[in-house]
Structure formats: structure tokens, C-alpha cells
Assembly symmetry: C2
Homo-oligomer: 131 residues x 2
């Protein structure tokens, strides 16, 4: 049975208020910045829990795990800005079917897939081209 602590609540809130994918450390720093005295280990634990409960999505970039609030219960993927982390949820129905088929064709069972699209968001594209 999972307890309700203000720490867990603070992490959930901070994640929800964040545009794109953030690291545990960044989230911890931002919480500390607002006066919240959460421990780093607690932020890691809360994010891991949120991810297993399906309330957060995660991906690994350059050796660190990034998290993002997730609309729960729906399988989806992300279009992510390489520069600022902003993310858009996208559905990938044709890819789902393709992945299942490819696995089956080669006799692989219990298929899974990792599908992420990266790029520069409109804002970062503008900034990059005007430089």
C-alpha cells in the first residue's frame, strides 16, 4: 500500500508543470528552487514509481533518464526536441502494426518496441537558423 506524502505530491506536480522531458536532477533542482526541501533520492524513487504506474514516460538520453508526465492508459510515443526537451505525444498506429508483424515474421514472441522521433522544435529551429 502506497502512502501519500507531500514529497510524492510535489514531484508529481512539478512533473506536470514541466513542458517536456526532464531529468531527476533537474526536477530536484527546480523543486529546491521553489523552497521545497525534497531529497534527491526521493525524487528518483517518486519518478520511478510514477513510471511503473504509467503516470510518467521515460527515455534515456546521453546517459541520463528523462521523465515526462503522461496521459495515462494510452499507448503512445513522442516527438521530442533535441535541444530543449519539449515533447509532443503522437500516436503511431501504423508502426504498432508493423512492429508486431516484423516480430512475428521472425518468430519472435512477446514483442515490444521503442519508437521515438527527435528533431528541433519550431522555436529551436528558428533560433538555430537565425544564428
Amino acid at each position: 500500500m502506497k502512502r501519500n506524502t507531500w514529497q510524492r505530491e510535489a514531484v508529481r506536480d512539478a512533473l506536470g508543470r514541466t513542458e517536456g522531458f526532464v531529468s531527476a536532477q533537474a526536477l530536484h533542482a527546480s523543486l529546491r528552487g521553489t523552497g521545497s526541501e525534497v531529497g534527491l533520492a526521493t525524487v528518483y524513487r517518486a519518478l520511478a514509481d510514477l513510471a511503473t504506474e504509467g503516470e510518467a514516460d521515460s527515455l534515456v538520453q546521453e546517459g541520463e533518464s528523462l521523465y515526462r508526465a503522461c496521459t495515462p492508459g494510452s499507448h503512445h510515443h513522442h516527438l521530442i526536441c533535441r535541444n530543449c526537451g519539449t515533447a509532443v505525444e503522437i500516436s503511431a498506429d501504423p508502426v504498432e502494426a508493423w512492429a508486431r508483424q516484423v516480430a512475428a515474421e521472425h518468430g519472435f514472441t512477446e514483442p515490444n518496441h521503442v519508437v521515438d522521433v527527435f528533431g528541433l522544435c519550431p522555436e529551436c529551429s528558428r533560433a538555430a537558423s537565425s544564428r
Copy 2:
């Protein structure tokens, strides 16, 4: 100008002789096992070089980078066994087009994508079901 050393050659060979994705540490251990006295740092460096030269593919799983010999010059993806690391190269032309389109629709530029399909290979499926 890149020099030819027996160490680099040994790493390339060992990678080529491996079925699926392997970690730098595992490859280093296997080289040591065959009497080759390569340093761990050198294995890391060689694998990184092979990856940037397009002679190896890499992916990150559970916090460690895995490498695999790659048929060079062709953009492709992988169907990977979660259990033993065995991998099959697959082409994903419909996914390529989909990814480009999704990025364009949201105004994202310089699109990239990560597409991996995981599952249990026929052999590992058999082992799992007979247990």
C-alpha cells in the same frame, strides 16, 4: 590519420564473430578469455570509433551501451532478443516515411528517429515456454 593496431583489429574481429548485441565489458572479457591482452579503455575507444564510422550499431539497455557489427552504408533497424541479445537487421521503410511526416506536421526540423523492436527469439521463446 587512424593507425592500424592489433588491438583495434581484435575488437573488430570479436565483434564480427558475435551473434547479437554485446557490451564493451563483455567483449573485453571474451577477448581476455582468448588470451588477448587488450585494455578495457581500448575496447571502449575501438567500439566508439567503429560506431562513428558506421561499422557498428549501438543501443542502450539497462544503463549500458551494447554494440553489434553492422552492414555499413545502409540505414536499418533491429529486432532484438530481450533475453540473449541476438539481433536481426530489419528495414523499416514505412516507418521512415511516417517519422518524417510526423516531424514535419509539428514543425520539427532535422528529424531523427529511434526504432527498435524487442522480443524473445525463437530459441528463447521455446526455452521460456518449456519451463
